[in-house]
Symmetry: none
Subunit: 188 residues, 4 copies
């Protein structure tokens, strides 16, 4: 039996996520990664076959986390559901920034990366379906404005996630505030 691994795959992916957020996909290098881990650069290849696989695995992990959380949302009360979903998304707001570069991954080299990316694609679909379902329900219950097309409302809702939390409020309060602004507007 060989030596003990000096870090876990999860740690590697955590650092990867941090660096991807800090530097973007093109600014993310294995050299950079190895500098934020304990061992040599080449050791990384014990965990993943190439750069693409690392990034893909990282993105997949984030997607899985989002999906498990959003699956737990109770959709009975549509507005309450939207608020919960907003909270989930705000909590993982890195998510979008991160996945925004998904298309840059060159999937040709790596089977594993390709699998991960297709998982992510499916996840995206499921999330969209869920959101569409809840919005449709809310709309059907007469909770939403009729003079604004539903897709526009969804788009604005979704984009709320990225609003910088300038006041550094706790995320549950912050998401409630966002939800309130989204629902009632800012006019007095």
């Amino acid at each position: 039996m060989g030596r003990k691994r000096s870090y876990t795959e999860a740690e590697l992916l955590d650092v990867t996520k941090k660096l991807l957020l800090e530097h973007g996909y093109d600014g993310f290098h294995l050299k950079l990664l190895s500098e934020h881990l304990v061992g040599a650069r080449s050791t990384i290849y014990q965990y993943f076959a190439n750069k693409e696989e690392i990034v893909a695995a990282c993105m997949k992990r984030v997607m899985r986390s989002i999906m498990s959380k959003s699956a737990e949302v109770d959709e009975t009360d549509s507005l309450a559901a939207l608020q919960q979903i907003l909270y989930v998304y705000v909590e993982e707001s890195d998510f979008h920034q991160l996945l925004g570069d998904a298309h840059k991954i060159n999937v040709a080299n790596s089977e594993a990366a390709a699998r991960d990316m297709s998982y992510i694609e499916q996840g995206h679909e499921e999330l969209k379906v869920q959101l569409g379902r809840i919005f449709a329900k809310a709309n059907g219950e007469g909770n939403l404005r009729q003079d604004v097309p539903l897709p526009a409302q969804i788009s604005v809702f979704f984009n709320l996630i990225n609003t910088p939390n300038v006041l550094r409020m706790p995320l549950d309060e912050w998401s409630k505030l966002l939800f309130s602004m989204w629902m009632k507007g800012v006019a007095k």
Copy 2:
């Protein structure tokens, strides 16, 4: 005398902008740029001394455009002014994405790039001042909710810009719709 230039500086910067938006700062290469222009890679150096200067010039140009438009906004009616500003920003919504990487530019190599970046910095300040002024006025006139901190309202307003225009509406209508949702909310 001398040959005719095969493309103008403006064309170069247009392509640069497009590529920066597509690939981000780190994904932007002179090879890529030259492939989207007519000539050889080295020809680019007839226009700019190095990569940093190109990016800086591109960003400066975008900033200048935004600033001249936002300077024309009539601030008499604060709410109308906000709506106009939203339109200006939505029209140039690339702007933020683009300038988000401004800090990555290594300014040490190039005098010209340094000058451009400082122009951009000042521009940022002026825009913030203008927005703060109008919001303060709107708030003073009692147009805004008091139960949400002003910075949070500004943050949401600003973030609206990035909302994807899923319905591909004309930008004037789209910005009015966004403004309406921001003011009145989406609740029925």
Copy 3:
């Protein structure tokens, strides 16, 4: 662990010295260097961070060698000391040719190169001080002509070093011969 290095740093610097003497600073390329070593050009970067550091390290090494030798010179008998010094310098006559280009090194890029160059500068000073001291002593003891300014005598002495050893004599004999010509002249 890891592979065995295919050449030592000392070997690299030896080759560098040879090439610098052959081609001068501006004619010295890493491509050239790599062609005189076993591996690929990029392997050189395992040893030094950039071209400047290589050249600086090479020069520093030569300076260190000269200084340790000249520090061992016994200055009791001033004329004997000069003869010994001449021998030291003749032995390392490349030295001056090599360091003549020291000012061309762009030190801005590299901390390490800057350190090396400042070491070299100090070394130069120390050597000048030593030579001045011995000449002053020799002059004070009445060993030197009074009708020729001392700096001119020093300059000629120093310049002797570069005299091509056309007869390929052993360096100790050659330096004695030079010293004899310098002291007694060539006239019968």
Copy 4:
């Protein structure tokens, strides 16, 4: 008839000489040259077909100048002749530094450069012959030490030329001083 030439070939070669001395062969660029002349870089090609030809022409000119001067030396009195020759060489002491890089010129590209270089080669031979003749005469007349091989004496004589004129004396005095040291030595 076209425009008037903005500088003469001689001016171009003067500047070339200055820059070659300052930067060495490898540090000499046409860009640098054009910056020290009035027109555009490409204008240089109206005068010479390529870089090699410029350098070769420059060296040839220097050689021609030396040769015409040294041809005027009266060889009747061998020691006086040597003193005169030393003066000629000291006056054009750049000469050696300059021609030291002659071997770097790639003669394959240019017929004209090849011709110039062969002229220089011949010149070198003639100068050596002249010096050898005078030294032989001086030796035959019993003017020189017998305990030092003649080639060594010649070598030292020749190398005197490069002695830095630290005191900035007028060149005729300086060359006399050098000659005196060479003949009589520095010992009291």
